[in-house]
Every structure is written in structure tokens, then in C-alpha cells.
């Protein structure tokens, strides 16, 4: 169905439009108290209007910032839109970030108003209150346990709503005027990039940028008001925010918030979304779950599963792309759909998925092919916070495992000599908030945005991203070294959770490996290997050889690609602990912080390259509840077999 938003150029205007055109349709649902509580567009608009008037009554004016801390739920999106009605700028923040990480954005944008979800978030804000004098008003949504809190700044969301309803009753016109004042060029929202390097930067995005990109992408896939999306990723991440805020406001589809983080799987199965987005690590975790659960299945189911997955591997992707497939295979696949893939999609809650995107990181080819083979229309997407996400999308029919598709209409792509990708599109961000110097670096005078990603076009015009520019290095003998590419190939094995490859400016490639505790523990139990914990399992000979097998299979693949054949992994060690964002080794979206790791584990790196076969390590570790403790271990270093290009043919 076509998108009928006509001239609305700001999100509040879109809301008013939807409330009028499709007032009775569900706008947003949340699983609470056992059932899915539903707000229609009309109800959602009323709540936003009341909230906006409430904020106005509390002195929130045009240009102010509103911090939003908390998980996906109707009230966080209502608050976003309410701020925008008054010309304010919502700033969503990661709900699982530590208190210290929240201090910078609040100081940077002198945020005076904040909406927090529950006691946990309020406590964080109260903890950093001394460093953020500007913070005047904190509205909490869930009153649980905060009965004795007496701080002046605290007020409950409901009282704000009540206040709003009174002010609106007194002066209904006031809000309509404020909304009319809004224009496409105003700032719609500000997202703080987790930034793999240095302090986070506030990316300022205008209404026009977000709406335009959302509309283009929606047209491409024919999204409409009947579609359903599950909002389960942190709202502060542009990847989630675009799908659960920008696009629903453009197309009018319904977003659903799960009851809690633990119940995402069951809620997804209940809702059965038609439009799905998941970063590679979520898809990877899902695949590990599938393989572990299948390992425990009865032998009949396992045989059935393996047989039909073989067929799917061969034929599934082609069928999805509409390529010609033999009659026998087509029938077999149909039978497989009835017995295995249909139920599998159903249990994962993806039976009704029409379009599924994956973005944020490069995805392992086999992982990508797995989902397409069981009939899920998974496609690659490329974009970033600064470009309002949509830069390249793989159209139906031209889906490939290792590319991200052609540019979306309205986007121009260009390469610098060092193969850095430059983008110009209406969706570009206005600036980095109060950071002119970074803005100048990223956006040059002709309006080109320097992405910092390296890549090239493949024959049929699809963009291929290989790595971050500053990470792409060269081995001593000049062969191209793309750590991300190697790491993704390694991470595709369900036993390996995270890998960090080193080789830039060195003679050979070495790697740190983090195995997936759940998968390997299950594997160890089946072989009767007793273990006490992660560190103990890491030192086991059987586990080391298991990881070596995976590495050798990756080396065999690499040997087939001539220009990077030489960057096969020669030596590796298994880290004594899981890399963790709390220790600063990963970003909030679990991307590897390579430079930080390199200097923190300097000793290990030297041991790898120094030819030693084991190294002692003493490391300080931060536990979940903030306590720190020392973890010491002796890490064994092993060599992995390297294949010469022609030998690889035989081994593969």
C-alpha cells in the first residue's frame, strides 16, 4: 500500500496524520500483565499530546534536550515524540550502560530533562547528579520501590501526564501551534555513537533526514500499515530506533515491545513479526541455540533435520531468489518445508517475516546462507548512525553473502585512493554536537561523509565492505590484511564467540580466541570432560584442538582467495576470560575495540610473535556488580596448519 504522508515533514505532524487517517489501527503494543496491551494511533497521539503539554508546563522549550533512559516500551517513544512536538531534541541512552558512561552526554548537551524507566535507571541518574548540575527534572515511569525517594528533581510520569491533560484542557490550541512551528530542517534526535575510538560523539539528525531515508527504504520493500515489528534491541541504537520510531511514523505499521529481555523469544513467537532486523551477533546466538537444541533431539529428528538441511543448503537460497531449480529439488524442498523449515521458522517466530535485514557488522557467509536456506528473506544492509542507517540495501533477487547491495535511491558513493568509502545523501547528519572539529573531519565542504570503512564495488555494482580503513593493514610482504573478515569467518563456528586477529605490519597473522562457553560446555559434557569454569575449560587440550580444527578450516577457505591467501592464521591462544564491554574491551554493541585490546594484552601479543608456546597472565577483571578481582592463568599457544593455495582445493 502506498505511503500517504504527503507534506508532513516532522514526526509530530506524521503522528497527527496517522491519528486522523488510521486512528483505530494499533500503533504500539506491549506485553504486560500477561497480555498484549495495545495503543491505537489515536490513543498514542492523545498520550503524546498530554505529555507534550506536561513538559511545556514544566518549562521544556524549543531546542531543549530530553534524555531517555530505559528499555523499549510505549512511554519511551511517546516521550520522544512529545519532546519533538515542542521542538525539543530527544537523546536516547543505553539502558545497560554504567552510570559513568551517562555523565558525558548529559554534560555535553546540558540536558535538563530526563525520562527514566525504573528505580535502577533513576539510581544511576542520581549517582551522577553531582557531575551534571544541569539535570533538573527526572520523570520515572515505574514507581516500584521508590516510595521514600524525596529528591526534588524526581516526579512520576503519571503526574506529568496529569499535569499535561490539565494544561491541554485549558489551552488546546497551544500544542497545535507548536507542532506547526516544526520544520523538516529541525533536529529530530541525537544519538551518541559508541565510537570504537575516543569519547562518544553526539550525532545530530534532522527530521527531514530520518523521514526521507525511512520513506525511501519503505517504498523499496512496500511496507505498509499492516506490518508488525518486534522492538527488542536497545532504543539508543540507531539500528533499532529507525525500525521502531522513524519507519513506523512514516508507514504507520505497529511495533511490539516484549515483556522483558528474557521473554524475547516467546514474545517473538507470539507476535510473529513480518519485518525483522537483527545484527549478526543476534543471528549467530540464535543459530547456536538451534544447533545445541538439535544436538539434544532424538536421533530420528536429528537425521531428518540433517537430511533436509542438506537439501536446503543446496536449493533453499536459489528458490528464494527465484533462480531455476529442478522439479525433484523443488518437491523435496516443499516436503522439507512441511517437516523441518516451516516448524523451525515457526518456533523462532519468523514464519510471517517478509523482509529481514542484518547490519551493524559484516556477517559470516555460512550464517547468512543458513537463514536464507530455510526460507527467511534475510538481506544485507549497510549504513551508520551518521547516515540515518539506509545507505545500501540488497534488493530481492540479487542477494549475495559477501556484499551489502547497491546504493539506495538518492545516495551517491565514491572511493578515496586509500579505498575509503565516501557517502553523500539527504540522510546525512547535520553535525557532531558541539564538536565542530570532528564534524569537519567527517564531512568535507562538498558534503561527502568519510565513513572510515574500506571496500570496493563488485562486478554487478554491489558495494563490498571488507573492514575499517584504519584496521586494514598490510603484512610485511604486502598482502592485504583485513582482520574483520578473518574474525567473521572464525565467528561463524558455533564454538567460537569472539576472535581478535593481529597482523598489520607483521610477518604472519596471529589471533586471540574467545570460545562460546555455552556451546563448548555442552560439547564437553557430551564427551564427559569435567570442568569448573571458563578459565579451566580454556586450558583443556581437547578444547584447544577443537579450536585449532576451526582455524584450520578457515585457513583452507582463505587459501582459495589468492590476494589474501597469505593472511592465514599461523598461531593462536585462547583468552582466559570472555571479552566484556564492562572491561572496555568491546563497545556497547559488542564490537571489538582492537587498539585497546592490543595494548592491554601487550604481553600475550609478544609471546605469540616471540615463538613461545605458553604465557602467564595476571589480569584485573570487573565483575557484574562493580567489584574487581584478579584472574591469573597460563595460556597455551598452538600453531595451526597452513595450506598452500592448491593444497586447499583437495582439503576443502
Amino acid at each position: 500500500m502506498s505511503i500517504d504522508i504527503g507534506t508532513c515533514d516532522t514526526f509530530p505532524k506524521l503522528l497527527v496524520h496517522h491519528a486522523r487517517v488510521r486512528g483505530a489501527l494499533p500503533a504500539i503494543r506491549e506485553k504486560d500483565l500477561g497480555i498484549w496491551q495495545t495503543w491505537t494511533w489515536q490513543q498514542f497521539a492523545d498520550e503524546v499530546r498530554a505529555l507534550a503539554c506536561g513538559l511545556a508546563a514544566q518549562g521544556f522549550k524549543r531546542g531543549d534536550h530530553l534524555a531517555l533512559v530505559g528499555d523499549n516500551r510505549p512511554r519511551i517513544y511517546a516521550a520522544m515524540c512529545a519532546a519533538q512536538c515542542l521542538g525539543g531534541i530527544p537523546v536516547p541512552m543505553y539502558q545497560d550502560a554504567a552510570a559513568a558512561e551517562m555523565a558525558f552526554p548529559i554534560q555535553n548537551a546540558e540536558i535538563a530533562y530526563a525520562v527514566a524507566e525504573d528505580q535502577e535507571q533513576v539510581d544511576k541518574l542520581l549517582e551522577i547528579l553531582p557531575q551534571c548540575p544541569t539535570l533538573k527534572h527526572i520523570y520515572y515511569d515505574e514507581p516500584r520501590g521508590m516510595r521514600h525517594y524525596a529528591q526534588a528533581q524526581l516526579a512520576s510520569y503519571d503526574t506529568l501526564l496529569e499535569l499535561g491533560r490539565e494544561t491541554r484542557a485549558r489551552d488546546p490550541e497551544f500544542l497545535e501551534v507548536e507542532i506547526a512551528k516544526g520544520s523538516g530542517g529541525d533536529t529530530a534526535a541525537m544519538f551518541f555513537t559508541s565510537g570504537t575510538t575516543g569519547t562518544p560523539k553526539g550525532v545530530v539528525l534532522t527530521h527531514h533526514a530520518l523521514i526521507d531515508r525511512a520513506k525511501v527504504a519503505a517504498d523499496l520493500e512496500g511496507l505498509g500499515e499492516r506490518d508488525v515489528v518486534l522492538a527488542y534491541l536497545p532504543p539508543a541504537w540507531i539500528g533499532q530506533n529507525v525500525f521502531s520510531y522513524a519507519q513506523p511514523f512514516v508507514t504507520g505499521y505497529c511495533i511490539c515491545c516484549p515483556e522483558s529481555a528474557e521473554t524475547v523469544m516467546t514474545d517473538m513467537r507470539e507476535i510473529g513479526p513480518t519485518y525483522y532486523f537483527a545484527p549478526p551477533r543476534v543471528l549467530e546466538a540464535l543459530l547456536t541455540q538451534v544447533s545445541i537444541r538439535m544436538e539434544d533431539a532424538s536421533s530420528l529428528k536429528r537425521r531428518l533435520y540433517k537430511a533436509f538441511m542438506g537439501i536446503a543448503q543446496r536449493v533453499g537460497g536459489a528458490l528464494l531468489d527465484g533462480k531455476p531449480v529442478g522439479i525433484a529439488d523443488r518437491l523435496l524442498y516443499r516436503l522439507g518445508d512441511l517437516l523441518v523449515y516451516g516448524p523451525l521458522r515457526n518456533v523462532l517466530g519468523m514464519s510471517r517475516v517478509r523482509v529481514a535485514y542484518t547490519a551493524g557488522e559484516a556477517i559470516g557467509p555460512d550464517l547468512f546462507r543458513f537463514y536464507r536456506s530455510i526460507g527467511i528473506n534475510l538481506k544485507q544492509l549497510y549504513g551508520s548512525t551518521e547516515t540515518s542507517v539506509f545507505v545500501c540495501i540488497q534488493p530481492d533477487g540479487q542477494v549475495k553473502a559477501d556484499t551489502v547491495g547497491p546504493a539506495v535511491p538518492g545516495v551517491e558513493l565514491k572511493f578515496t585512493p586509500q579505498r575509503e568509502l565516501l557517502i553523500r545523501s539527504p540522510g546525512l547528519f547535520k553535525e557532531y554536537y558541539k564538536n565542530a572539529q570532528a564534524t569537519a573531519e567527517a564531512k568535507d565542504h562538498e558534503g561527502w561523509f568519510h565513513t572510515g570503512d574500506a571496500g570496493y564495488f563488485d562486478p554487478d555494482g554491489h558495494l563490498k565492505i571488507i573492514d575499517r580503513v584504519k584496521d586494514v593493514g598490510k603484512l610485511v610482504d604486502g598482502t592485504l590484511f583485513a582482520p574483520k573478515y578473518l574474525e567473521n569467518k572464525l565467528k561463524f563456528f558455533s564454538y567460537i564467540k569472539e576472535a581478535v586477529a593481529f597482523g598489520d605490519g607483521r610477518d604472519q597473522v596471529c589471533a586471540f580466541i574467545n570460545f562460546d562457553f555455552e556451546a563448548v560446555a555442552n560439547w564437553a559434557e557430551k564427551r564427559g570432560i569435567a570442568y569448573t569454569g571458563y578459565t579451566d575449560l580454556a586450558s583443556r587440550e581437547a578444547v584447544l584442538s577443537l579450536v585449532r580444527e576451526c582455524i584450520e578450516r578457515v585457513n583452507a577457505d582463505l587459501a582459495e582467495e589468492p590476494e589474501i591467501a597469505n593472511s592465514q592464521i599461523r598461531r593462536f591462544l585462547i583468552l582466559h576470560k570472555e571479552l566484556d564491554a564492562d572491561d572496555g574491551e568491546l563497545t556497547r554493541t559488542r564490537k571489538v575495540r582492537r587498539a585497546f585490546i592490543a595494548d592491554r594484552y601487550r604481553a600475550l601479543l609478544d609471546a605469540l610473535y616471540g615463538g613461545k608456546d605458553s604465557v602467564h597472565v595476571e589480569m584485573q577483571v570487573k565483575y557484574e556488580d562493580g567489584r574487581t578481582g584478579m584472574v591469573a592463568a597460563d595460556l597455551a599457544i598452538r600453531d595451526a596448519k597452513v595450506y598452500s593455495p592448491d593444497a586447499a582445493k583437495r582439503a576443502a
Binding site: G34, R147, S260, T263
Partner: protein, 266 residues
């Protein structure tokens, strides 16, 4: 700990209660009172008569002497030999030392049975189901969902109770007692057999219950740390006699109590 709910006047008064099983004197002239919105702890070494006191309060045992007066909706009701069924209708709910849940039913059904006193429909209407019975059932389901959400047991709503670990079963039992929206909640060692983390959770729940619903709580507990933290006033029993009554600090200093616990020869 500042009190959200102000402690009101007396709601329950126990005067001179004695209870004996054949020769064994479980309780001898015990009298104490409990005020509204208060968390009242009953402590004492094993076999001091704590559980029997609780069983007298909710009508399972009938004392030979002494009277128990309860202020239910305004009027002082004196109940001498009242059976447990009447006690429940007066708004007294309780949990059991060793879990008394209905193994054959799911968590949701168990908690719903807590509300049976509030259901008005006759069995005939319930058989026909459509109409009044259905409305009533859904209303009560809504109220039960509040309690389930309050005690954070949404994820086990549909599992049979028999399958749950010990800590969760205790929480389901608390949910069932709460579902009856009692004026007086009797907790019989709610934290026995729990690890530290579960104990902290349960303490938080008991405090929240007192906070949020304003229920008066009578708590039997061994863990002195817990008693000292969350109770407003404490009664100390030893060999069926009351040897201490007052705030946790007073009781801690009381020599008789220390003797009782450290085992001075009687």
C-alpha cells in the same frame, strides 16, 4: 528505615493464650498485640511454640484458655474456637513452613485459589460460564496478574508448581497469600532453606508488600539478621512462655533472650 506507612493502633490482641497437646504445654499465657501496617516478628529457639502460636492465630489449633481479638473492618471480633476457614474470611492469610502448594495445578491456578473467598458466583453460573461468572473470573485474573507482576514470577505463570525450585515455590505461596488481599499476613519461616540472594529477594518482597499494600505482617524467622533488619517489633518465646517483647534493639539487649538463645539450663 523511614516508614512509608504509619503504624496505626492495635489490630490484633492476644491475651493469656495457653495451648497444650495432652501433657505437652505448647503455649503458656502468652499475650502480645500487633498494630496495623506493622511487621511483627516472633522468634525463639526451636520448639518454643512459634508455629503453634501461628496456628492458633489462624484457627488450626484451638487454645484451652485465653482470647484472641481481631479488629476486622472496624469492629473488634473475638474468636475463640474459630476454624481456619472462618479465619480466612476475616482476612487472615498465611504461608506454611514446608510448602503447602497444590502440586496438581499451575502457578496461576494456585494463586487464583487464593482469591476464592472473593468469588461470588454459584457453581451453576460458573458451569454456564458466559455472563457473570466470566466477568468475575477475568476481574480476578487481572488482580492476580498484579500480584504476579509484583513478585516477578511472570515467566513461570503456566508451569505446574511441582516442577519449580524451592525458592520459587516459596514465592508462589506468598503470591497466593497476597492474592487474598489479607489484612493480616502470617509468614511461617518464609526464608528457611534459602541461599543469601533468595533471602535478600524475599526480604525485599516482604518490605514491598508492607509498603505497597500496607498489610500487617506477623513473621516467624530464625535468621536474626533478617529479623533485626525488617521487623518493627519482636516477640520472643521460649518453652511456650513470652520472655521478651519490644523493638529489635530492646530485645537484643534483653538478658533473658540471650540466655534462651545461648541455652542456659532451665
Amino acid at each position: 528505615m523511614n516508614r512509608a506507612q504509619q503504624i496505626g493502633d492495635k489490630i490484633l490482641s492476644v491475651e493469656g493464650v495457653s495451648l497444650a497437646f495432652g501433657g505437652v504445654k505448647a503455649l503458656q499465657e502468652v499475650s502480645f498485640d500487633v498494630r496495623e501496617h506493622e511487621i511483627r516478628a516472633i522468634i525463639g529457639p526451636n520448639g518454643a511454640g512459634k508455629s503453634s502460636m501461628l496456628n492458633v492465630l489462624n484457627g488450626v489449633y484451638h487454645p484451652q484458655q485465653g482470647t484472641i481479638k481481631l479488629r476486622a473492618n472496624g469492629a473488634w471480633k473475638e474468636f475463640h474456637d474459630m476454624d481456619s476457614h472462618e479465619a480466612a474470611s476475616l482476612g487472615i492469610a498465611r504461608t506454611f513452613q514446608n510448602i503447602a502448594l497444590f502440586k496438581g495445578m499451575t502457578v496461576l491456578d494456585n494463586v487464583m485459589t487464593g482469591r476464592n473467598l472473593k468469588m461470588r458466583c454459584s457453581f451453576l453460573e460458573q458451569a454456564i460460564w458466559v455472563g457473570r461468572a466470566r466477568r468475575e473470573e477475568l476481574e480476578h485474573r487481572r488482580a492476580v496478574e498484579e500480584v504476579i507482576d509484583f513478585l516477578e514470577i511472570q515467566h513461570i505463570r503456566k508451569t505446574p508448581v511441582g516442577k519449580l525450585p524451592y525458592g520459587l515455590q516459596k514465592r508462589v505461596e506468598l503470591a497466593r497469600a497476597l492474592a487474598a488481599e489479607p489484612t493480616l499476613l502470617l509468614l511461617d519461616e518464609p526464608m528457611s532453606g534459602m541461599n543469601l540472594e533468595e533471602k535478600q529477594d524475599m526480604c525485599r518482597f516482604v518490605l514491598d508488600v508492607n509498603d505497597h499494600y500496607g498489610t500487617t505482617v506477623v513473621l516467624i524467622e530464625h535468621d536474626m539478621g533478617v529479623v533485626m533488619d525488617i521487623s518493627d517489633r519482636v516477640v520472643v518465646l521460649d518453652y511456650g512462655r513470652k520472655i521478651g517483647d519490644g523493638t529489635p534493639e530492646e530485645v537484643r539487649a534483653n538478658q533473658a533472650v540471650i540466655d534462651a538463645y545461648l541455652g542456659v539450663a532451665h
